[in-house]
């Protein structure tokens, strides 16, 4: 499945679940916040969310900031 993840093209090999995508990219589930097509997807909705072809996914983590 073709996705855009953090602005880059990504060929997703898994089942289209959020968990599969995070695992594929080596992201820690507990440390990651997510948007799909501009909408924030809270972690309690991840299981119910199925990614679709050409979805735009943003994966965010905490970094230092003032």
């Amino acid at each position: 499945m073709k996705l855009t993840v953090n602005g880059d093209q990504h060929a997703h090999q898994g089942n289209g679940s959020i968990a599969a995508l995070l695992e594929e990219l080596g992201a820690n589930k507990a440390h990651t916040a997510l948007m799909v097509n501009g909408d924030v997807v809270p972690s309690d909705r991840w299981d119910a969310t199925k990614l679709e072809e050409n979805d735009e996914v943003e994966m965010l983590v905490f970094v230092g900031g003032g």
Partner: protein, 260 residues
């Protein structure tokens, strides 16, 4: 004496808030946070990058006991982006605090008051404790208080400049009129300036560059703690009135005068 700071329904034992940017290493940041005694630190959001996994601060910060996280909305150019950033930040922080900052011009990083106001309205509706980073504008501060912001955070000087309390006179007006905590955010360089802000009646200060860019960030974190504590204690003690003319501290009796 108990001197807790209440922001919304949250109680804080320290009046020094710390930013976590610009530190030379993750360990330097953690050491400075501990030395400062802070209970509230800001964090930013960035795209996940597997190659820079060590930049992910979630793990080390969540291990710090008694320290709550306040995600900022840095990078947001307008209200819509800031609201989105706040929602993403809350997903990770599990904290109601948000530092609302919208500064579209990278040259001066001064806050956009109109976008900030619009974002604040929505974030208050969504039950955030909104702490907006704002120009030291008493009218804007009051308007943000009126719509339910939990505190206001006027800038002392532009972010990262170390120019100190260049807006002191405006901040004094904000303090005089405010019914929510006033936090000086940005511009401070020296612990004496933090003490000065607290003596003026600020409820807290937020410091990042002054500590992160110090030669010894841990020692500077401790120094800012001392400065904030001293300034707060002085405020509570009540400063003496000033006078235009000298007022003697010692008796001016003339027993030393020599008669010819």
């Amino acid at each position: 004496m108990s001197d807790k700071l209440n922001i919304g329904n949250q109680e804080l034992g320290s009046r020094l808030f710390l930013g976590t940017g610009k530190f030379s290493s993750r360990q330097a940041m953690i050491d400075a946070v501990k030395a400062s005694g802070t209970e509230l630190v800001t964090v930013a959001l960035r795209r996940f990058n597997r190659e820079q996994a060590e930049d992910d601060l979630y793990g080390p910060l969540s291990e710090l006991e008694g320290v709550r996280l306040m995600p900022n909305t840095s990078g947001a150019m307008n209200a819509k982006e800031a609201i989105r950033a706040a929602m993403l930040g809350r997903e990770l922080s599990k904290s109601p605090f948000v530092k609302l900052e919208i500064h579209p011009n990278p040259h001066h990083l001064l806050p956009d008051p109109i976008e900030t106001y619009e974002a604040a309205i929505e974030l208050v509706k969504q039950d955030f404790l909104v702490l907006p980073y704002i120009p030291a504008d008493p009218v804007l501060a009051k308007r943000l208080e009126d719509i339910g912001c939990a505190a206001v955070m006027p800038l002392g000087a532009a972010i990262g400049t170390g120019k100190g309390l260049s807006t002191a006179e405006m901040i004094k007006i904000i303090i005089r009129d405010a019914n929510v905590p006033v936090v000086v955010d940005a511009g401070l360089r020296a612990p004496s300036e933090a003490a000065c802000a607290m003596e003026m009646g600020c409820d807290a200060v937020l410091v990042n560059s002054a500590i992160a860019a110090a030669e010894n960030p841990t020692a500077m974190g401790a120094a800012f703690k001392t400065g904030v504590d001293a300034g707060r204690a002085a405020r509570l003690a009540g400063l003496m009135p000033t006078s235009e003319v000298a007022v003697a501290s010692s008796p001016l009796t003339s027993f030393l005068s020599v008669d010819d």
